[in-house]
């Protein structure tokens, strides 16, 4: 069975022995993300999750290829957004962190204060997204600048965004800043053809978002985001270039959101034919096909991975569900780290 995490020795395959190993490791992260999100969606439909549920269905290959090839232990960073279940876990977020945040467990990193995809562990290279799109780019820039202050120039920050998010001023400012500072930043733009209901024709007027790279003075790539191999190859190159000091890399993945904007949305506005058009395929199914065709895995093996993963997911969710919910009477109701300056706190003796 291929190992899920790379061995520390760097290589052409980013720590994996060969292409097969890398591909299958990524594919298994994709399966985990897909199965976990299906479970979360089922819980949402059953009324067990409040608030929004947003899925990365169709974007797992693109997300995982970035997350998996960054090196958390080395000090790399990964700032995922709403469709990055795969990338987050492949980078190093635990399944329990994901499950607990959806279910509001006090044991989770957000302790019920924030929920669903609004989660992270900033001290472990995973900044916690806010909803406001585009804003995480500059935050990752700052983390990279701090690393540089501390003498670390060999770490890479990965940040993700959607086609819609590229229309924000924050995104522009962040990318320009990264370019000016020549930061080791890899920006993954998942161009999934829609921002909520809005097609990309109302979002940008260039032929390809990667065309913008030249304007910022950064290297641009445009790839089929449903093709796992292309994603792995491209992010491998982008990460290595960033690590070598070549500055920000802008990778645009063409794909299709294979779900509603959130689970509340039936996405009736996406014509069915889109799934037959280029980049409209399901990357998980495509990866399976490729694994079978290359004789890298048998159907039986893949079925086993599915079954094992399903079990792992059920276990994690059951555990998170059995954990205590936040108790308002136990909350400090203070938002300051400087405890003695929080209003309503008695002065220290």
């Amino acid at each position: 069975m291929p190992s899920l995490s790379p061995s520390p020795t760097a290589s052409r395959w980013k720590g994996f022995a060969n292409e097969r190993e890398r591909f299958l490791a990524a594919y298994r992260w994709m399966i985990l993300a897909r199965i976990f999100e299906e479970k979360i969606a089922a819980l949402y439909r059953a009324g067990k999750i409040v608030g929004g549920v947003y899925l990365g269905r169709g974007q797992e290959a693109f997300s995982v290829a970035l997350g998996m090839q960054l090196d958390q232990a080395h000090g790399d960073l990964f700032a995922g957004l709403i469709r990055d279940q795969g990338g987050r876990m492949a980078f190093g977020e635990t399944l329990m962190d994901s499950a607990r945040t959806y279910l509001g467990s006090v044991e989770g990193p957000m302790r019920g204060r924030d929920g669903n995809i609004h989660r992270g562990r900033p001290t472990r290279g995973m900044p916690a997204m806010i909803s406001h799109l585009g804003t995480m780019v500059a935050v990752v820039n700052g983390m990279l600048m701090a690393k540089r202050f501390h003498g670390r120039v060999d770490v890479v920050g990965g940040v993700t965004i959607g086609d819609g998010g590229t229309s924000t001023g924050a995104f522009h400012e962040g990318l320009n800043q990264a370019a000016v500072e020549k930061l080791p930043l890899v920006v993954a733009v998942a161009d999934n053809q829609y921002a909520y209901s809005t097609p990309t024709c109302h979002q940008y007027a260039c032929a390809d978002l990667a065309d913008r790279a030249a304007g910022y003075g950064v290297r641009g790539y445009s790839i089929d985001g449903t093709d796992l191999t292309a994603c792995l190859e491209t992010f491998h190159e982008a990460i290595e270039r960033a690590r070598r000091g070549e500055g920000p890399q802008l990778v645009v993945g063409k794909l299709l959101r294979l779900a509603g904007h959130g689970e509340h949305d039936d996405a009736r506005y996406i014509p069915a034919r889109k799934r037959q058009e280029p980049h409209g395929g399901d990357c998980v199914a495509l990866a399976r096909e490729k694994a079978l065709k290359s004789a890298w895995a048998s159907a039986k093996e893949i079925d086993e991975w599915h079954a094992q993963t399903q079990e792992r997911v059920e276990e994690a969710v059951a555990r998170a569900q059995s954990e205590p919910e936040p108790n308002p009477f136990r909350e400090s109701w203070h938002a300051l780290a400087t405890k003695h300056l929080a209003e309503g706190t008695p002065p220290a003796q």
Partner: protein
């Protein structure tokens, strides 16, 4: 026929589009999709070319609305959530709010903000920002609490020559219903006595009016008659109506969902204290959300915002019970 708060907002926009060819609607997903909350459903079809999908560019959305207004248009901007107006803060407070004062040319834009907390919405889809914008000279801030006001005040907002921040509460969208659209509503700037009482005045706005009314009903069972004042507009504040109410009751509790530091409740209390100190039989009270971001988990969220229970408790305290 039954009309929801959300229907009223849609109908007001339809009427404005019908009556004035200069009105147009600009925001994310507002056209064919009809908006994240369906507040513009069907309008793109009825008014071709006048309900326009925007990129995710709040700064540019408001900036261009200002420009269009200068040229004689009457833009209605829909923010997907009030929280995202933070991205357009600069254009709102520095561009739109100062424009008339600096140039003598009015800036009639209406910015609709789906506001307030709902279960599970968390820190970035729950904020009440009326106090924030009310702080700035040059803005009008509306906080309708009824279906009638949602309709009438939005129509007024669009007609007004100044930038209007229109805070519509998401909790009221679907649940609040009326039999018909109003023929007329109180003038903008006038508060409304939502319930008559004589033992204490609760001054509130938006969804908090309904929490206050429920608290008043509970306290009525115990023999206390609580007056509820619905501010309707957070700016300007109708000080006269508040003072008249306090003159009748001698006791004041100001309630709002926004964060506790400063803001509407502080403004109400300070006006009553400075202009009507002699009317007070007890120290006036304020009740706001807690001084943390709005929590995600419903257990925390319910404790974070003022509710009819916490309002009733505050009123009891005010009554010396």
């Amino acid at each position: 026929m039954s009309i929801t708060y959300l229907d009223a907002i849609r109908e007001a926009q339809a009427r404005a589009l019908e009556e004035d060819p200069n009105v147009f609607i600009y925001g994310q997903d507002v056209a064919d999709f009809g908006g994240a909350f369906k507040a513009t459903k069907g309008l793109a079809e009825r008014f071709p070319g006048r309900v326009i999908d925007a990129p995710i560019s709040e700064d540019a959305i408001v900036g261009s609305a200002v420009g269009a207004a200068i040229e004689g248009m009457r833009p209605i901007v829909e923010m997907q959530f009030a929280d995202f107006s933070a991205v357009a803060f600069n254009q709102i407070v520095n561009q739109s709010a100062t424009h008339y004062w600096r140039t003598g040319v009015p800036c009639p834009i209406t910015i609709r903000l789906p506001s307030g907390g709902t279960e599970g919405s968390g820190p970035f889809h729950s904020q009440s920002v009326e106090s924030l914008y009310a702080h700035y000279p040059g803005l009008i801030v509306m906080t309708p609490a009824t279906v009638e006001d949602a309709y009438g005040m939005l129509l007024e907002a669009i007609r007004i020559e100044d930038p209007v921040i229109f805070c519509e509460h998401k909790l009221l969208y679907y649940h609040l219903k009326a039999d018909a659209l109003p023929r007329s509503v109180l003038p903008v700037g006038k508060a409304r006595i939502a319930r008559v009482g004589r033992h204490a005045s609760v001054v509130a706005c938006s969804a908090m009016v309904h929490e206050a009314l429920r608290a008043a009903r509970v306290l009525a069972d115990e023999g206390w008659e609580i007056e509820v004042v619905d501010l309707r507009t957070a700016k300007p504040i109708d000080t006269d109506t508040i003072l008249a109410s306090v003159a009748r009751t001698g006791r004041l509790l100001a309630v709002a969902e926004s964060f506790p530091w400063g803001g509407i409740t502080a403004e109400v209390v300070s006006r009553v204290v400075t202009e009507g100190f002699h009317l007070l039989d007890a120290p006036p009270q304020r009740l706001n959300s807690k001084d943390t971001p709005v929590p995600y988990h419903p257990n925390l969220w319910r404790a974070h915002r003022p509710t009819w229970q916490s309002i009733a408790a505050s009123v009891r305290h005010l009554l010396g019970l």
